[in-house]
Each structure stands twice: as structure tokens, then as C-alpha cells.
Subunit: 417 residues, 2 copies
Amino acid sequence: MSEQNPLEPMGQQARAAAHALRSVSRSVKDAALREAASRLRSSREILKAENAKDLEAGREKGLSAAMLDRLELTDKRIEAMAEGLETVAALPDPVGDIVSQYVHPNGLRIARIRQPIGVVGIIYESRPNVTADAAGLCLKSGNACILRGGSEALRSNLAIAAILRDALAAAHAPENAIQIIETADREAVGHLLRMDQYVDLIVPRGGKSLISRVYAESRIPVVAHLDGVCHVYLHEDADPEKAMKIVLNAKLQRPGVCNAMETLLVHQSAAPVMLRDICLALAEAGCELRGCERTRMLIDCFPATEEDWRTEYLDKILSIRIVSSLDEAIAHINEYGSHHSDAIVTESYEAAERFLDEVDSAAVYVNASTRFTDGYEFGLGAEIGISTSKLHCRGPMALEGLTTLKYVVRGNGQIRE
Amino acid sequence: MSEQNPLEPMGQQARAAAHALRSVSRSVKDAALREAASRLRSSREILKAENAKDLEAGREKGLSAAMLDRLELTDKRIEAMAEGLETVAALPDPVGDIVSQYVHPNGLRIARIRQPIGVVGIIYESRPNVTADAAGLCLKSGNACILRGGSEALRSNLAIAAILRDALAAAHAPENAIQIIETADREAVGHLLRMDQYVDLIVPRGGKSLISRVYAESRIPVVAHLDGVCHVYLHEDADPEKAMKIVLNAKLQRPGVCNAMETLLVHQSAAPVMLRDICLALAEAGCELRGCERTRMLIDCFPATEEDWRTEYLDKILSIRIVSSLDEAIAHINEYGSHHSDAIVTESYEAAERFLDEVDSAAVYVNASTRFTDGYEFGLGAEIGISTSKLHCRGPMALEGLTTLKYVVRGNGQIRE
């Protein structure tokens, strides 16, 4: 640790708050979360006023309409933040859960117990609601957090964080359990990523360039929420009705999210049977189609390039490839995909099982839409994002992903022979 | 990925082997492990001949007697390697274990299933038995591994790896599931640490300088097996008999290992009662004592410096500090320790519970020796090392630590509304 790190005081305070949180009971944490929800509601006008300054600056900087939309705090979005905190307050506290217990032949009781990780650094972009969502999950799981939002949302984020800190103080919980970096300075991210003495985990949420920078610079372990190049594969025996429903849902129900489909793979025997109808329905819904050569012999569409197979469009665009076999489909997904969420549509037991076993992704599906990869849908009650890391937490990251395990050993004088 | 990385072919082969391992059954993996054990036994003379060359080169290079001892392959150690592989063969296969299953209101069955991580890079020093131990655990958990042992053991490691690869071939398992870097070139470590396209996890086992280098250079997630600055704290109400037994065992039963005690903390009320007897017994066993000022008022010993509190002696040396309270003991451990294994000796329920909650280490003990932190003692059947990382795997790392979880979702046409 360089002694010149300007975030060092923040790191020290976070570490102290993390220690203090170990003796804060669940009822105090939940009271703080509910207090924060109530204060967000009653501070609606202040939040919107600060947000208006961000929006104005954003318009001056020439942010796109989509980015401005993401940035905006409406009454509905403030209410959703408040409800999110209340939902987290109502979830069971993972801290202290005994994951397993083993009694040693000599009588030692050896338990693995869930504990907070300590200090979590969260680096995110644009949407200000992440400030409340991420801080709430960290608090509930007993972690102190250091937040670093996008510069375009700085005033909104600072206003939300101030409310959260007031709520902590009001609930007699350590205020420094939630801290936010108060500068838009890009260098601050680098300072945070070098504080391995104080920060135990970095969770980046954002675009590829942010994530790449975090991976390149971080001296702290990272659980990344990366892009979703998700696939649906229609096997030769796919049920045409299920195929149609699942493809339309995975592509169009909400194209701008990470668990939406970006590439459709179709077995060569299924393509003549069902690809035309599916493409017609997609095109009617305004979806641009980009196909491989074999696809273009069946369907009128743009040519797909090698780059298309690796692209997360987050838009009404779909690349389509016809494959000769299940093996080719699995190989394509493992090679070009982002190991996020991938589905097969099939009536074959063997094809389904092979796909589930061999596709190396956080979530694999048979006969269902990839859109279900989500903390709420998976029964976790919340999520801080969807991890495409293989280690520590894979898939939706919620309270459990913010904990670590500790061996707790109770004896009465045992020594090793 | 730079195209000039000379390890790229090895990375590609490892990735292909990892994929092939997904359809290798437990019985084939176990047969390969038992075959390897049998071949290690029957190749004893070849192994000892290769090892003799390493030993000779080591003597010429002026390696210490302790290092030469660690390097040596005796009949007993070869037998232990073979037995280790048989033990791993007999352990349950973690792959495919369902960790939880949740049925969505819409009927989707959402399960979390244990899977191999993929490709594991293992970087280790001196002891050639790690080659067999680490490769065996990786194979059993369905991972391909790339091994990089210490240069001083190169010939021994290559000979062991060749036997393991022959056993894989004989059992009709993919030979490239076990690969070893065949050069002693230090740059090869750097090449391995940059292969994030092919390697999913790096496990370094060795001294501080190796681990620091790995952390600084790796673009791949690391689960480190770092030093053990372990503590025993004698609370004011410690039972003197338990205290004596536990201190002697934690310090002396095997001083050269990471779970041995390096610092003894004693409450100021306990020190006058029991410290003299304990120190006498330690000194009689040849242990050098280094105390804080308050200790030196009670005991004749060397002065301990600030550096002593951070030092892993791995030898018959002990630093001793008298503290004024449980809080001071906990703060000392969290500040100076390596978050490995720490014990309290107490008859107080409250002190025990607070110590277990607030000491932020992989393993925390009440009234037992720190020496129990070990995969075998904790009932895991084996270990690849003891992780001091907080994420993914903390404490002894065995088969489970070499797996990741995957969401497997089975539906019959579900889409997201």
C-alpha cells in the first residue's frame, strides 16, 4: 500500500466499520434498511433536484437519450429503490449460517459458518439506483462498502448515499459501513483498486471497458458482472411451438439486458422446418437479422461476420447460425459465448443432458428462456448483479455471494498427536 | 492473449482435456488414480535415480540441508504419494452434487450443481510430492491442470508427471488432463499467469516471494496458500493445564508448518499465574523466546520487535505479548496475523463466542491447538493446501475448493412474462 493513496482514510474507516458490524444484530441492520427506505421516500424532492443537475450536465455533455433515461430518478424509481431496501430487510440474514458441521473422532466440533467478507468495493455506471441496491445488500450481509458510481450520476449518488448514512446513524449502526467516493476523478478508481490492505472484494458492474480496466489494475479479488452473449440452440427435434415462444421471449422481452439472447443456433434439420416462421415473427417485431451463409440460403437477412458471434447487441438485433450437430452448437457456445446463460430447445433426453453438462456457463437451460437468470427469479430475493466469474460466486450474486466461510472449531483441550 | 505466449499450445490442450473430462465417469478417473499409484510404486528406482540428479545439482548449488531434505524422494515418500492417490480415488466425486434446488412458481426446476472449474494452474516449490497430490485432486474433481514445480526438483517432477500421464492413457482418460511445464525458466511462470484465455484458477503454494509475484502478475484469479502467523491467546480465566498442553502442541509438535503458533498472547491477569511454567517448558524443549516489555518483566527472554509480530518463524522461536484485554488480543490478531488459524484458551462462554465471531481468520479455535487446520483433520479427506484467501475457498482446499457451481434449469417451454 502506497502511503500516498488519498483513499486510505476511507479504507481505514471501512475496515473499522466492518469490524463494528460483526457485533451489530440483524434487527439493527434491518431497522437501518427500513429507515433508509423511509428516508428515500421522504427525500424525493431533494433527490430529484440533485438528479436534475446531473441530467442537465448530461444533456450539456451530449449524453444519448438512452443514457439520460437510465440516469433519471423518477418518483417510480425512487419508490422502487425504497421497496428494494425493504425487500432486503425482509430476507433472512446469511451471517452465522452453519453450512456444515463435522465432529472429529477426538470430539472437536468443526463447523463451517457464513461470515461477512469484510469490505466490498463496488464500481458501477449510470443508474443511480445501484447506490441503494448495492449498499443495502452489503449492509444486510454485514459488509462495509465503498461505492464508486459513474461520474454522470455523481450528484444523485451522493444524495442517495447521504440518506443511507443518515439512516445508519439513526439506527445506531456504524455510519461508515456505507461510504461513497465523492470525486468524479477517474484516478480514484485506480486508488480504490490498489487498496488491498483494506478492501477484500471488488464488484464491477458496467461495460466491457470498465471491467477490463478493473481486471488489469486490481490488486484485489474481482467478481465481475460482464457481458451476456447468450444463445438459444434449437436442436433437430425441437418442438416448433416452444422454439418460437422461447426465441421471441429471449430476444425481445427486454433486449437491453445481459440475459437476453444475442445468437440463435439452429440444427440443420430444424432450420428448414421452423427458421422461416421464427425469423418472420422476429422481423415483424422490428428485429434485425444477421445470418451465416447457410442461414442466408433460407432467409433474407444481413450477413453475420465473425465479430457478430462475439457481440452483445443489447438491442433488437440477432445473429443466426445453422450448425450440423449438437457438438457444433456446444463448441460454438463455449468458444464465442460469454459463459452467462444458454438454452437448448429439444425433446431429446440425451441432447438435453449433454447440453447441460457440456455448456460451460453460469446458467444452462432446457426448454426455457434465458431471461430467467436473475436473483429474484432464482429465489435469492435480490441481486447485486450476475457474475460471469467462475470462482466464489457464479450467476446471480446476492447475500450469499457477499459472504465467506470460516471454520469454527470448539474443543476442550484437544491437541494434535 | 499474446500470440507469442510459448505456453499457448499447452493451454489449448488443457482446455480440450478439461472439456473431454466432462464426459469421463468417476470410475475411469478413479481407475486412473489407482493406476498412477501402482505405477509410482513400480517406478521407484527410476524416480529415485531422477531425484538423485536433482539432489546432486542441489548440493552443487549449495541448497541448505533442510531444502535438500524436502527435495529427497525416499521409498517411504514414494509410498506416501501412491497412498495419497488411492485415498483421493476412494473419496466421493464432488462433480454433479446438487447443492440446492428451487422450484419456481411457474414450474421451472432451478438447481445449483457442482462442476469442475476447468483448467487449474499450480505453482509450487521444492517438495516433489506436490506433483502427484495436486494432480490427483485436480483429476478427481474433473479439472485439467498445468503444473509448475520448483526448478530444483525439475527432474523429479517431470518423472512423476510422466508416470501420471501414462496412467491416464492406460485408463483411457485424456492424457493432457495433467501437463507439466518442462523448463526451469523463470519466465514460464509469467507466461502461465497471462494465459487467462485458457486457465481458470491459479493456486500458488510456496514462500512469500512466490505468492507476491503471483498476485502482482496474474491475470487469472488466485487462491493463495500464504504464510501462517498463527496465535494462541490465553484469556484471564484460561485453564492452566489446557493452556500448557495447547501452547506446547501448537508451537512444538511440528514447528515448520503453517498452522503452528508463532505468537503467544497472554492476558495480564493470566501471565503471572501461568506464563513462567509455560516458558520454562518451551525453553526446555529448545524454543527461543522473544517477549514484549511486560513479558520481559516476568520472564528472561529476548526482546520482541514490531517485526516479530508479523514473522512466520517456521522454527522453534516464539514471540510473546501480554495484553490488557480480550479486545486487545483480538485487535492484535486481526492486525498482525495472517488470518490463518488462531485459538483462544478460556473457560468463559462470552470470551469464547466473541473470539470466534471477531477474529477474522480462516479457522478459529476455542480450547484446541491450531495444528488441526488441515484437510484430513477437518474431514475433507485430502488437501491441496490451506487457503488464506477469503473468496471462493477459505481454509483447507480439497475437492470442493476445486469446483464451481452452475445453475441448471429444466423447463417445458417457460418464458418470462
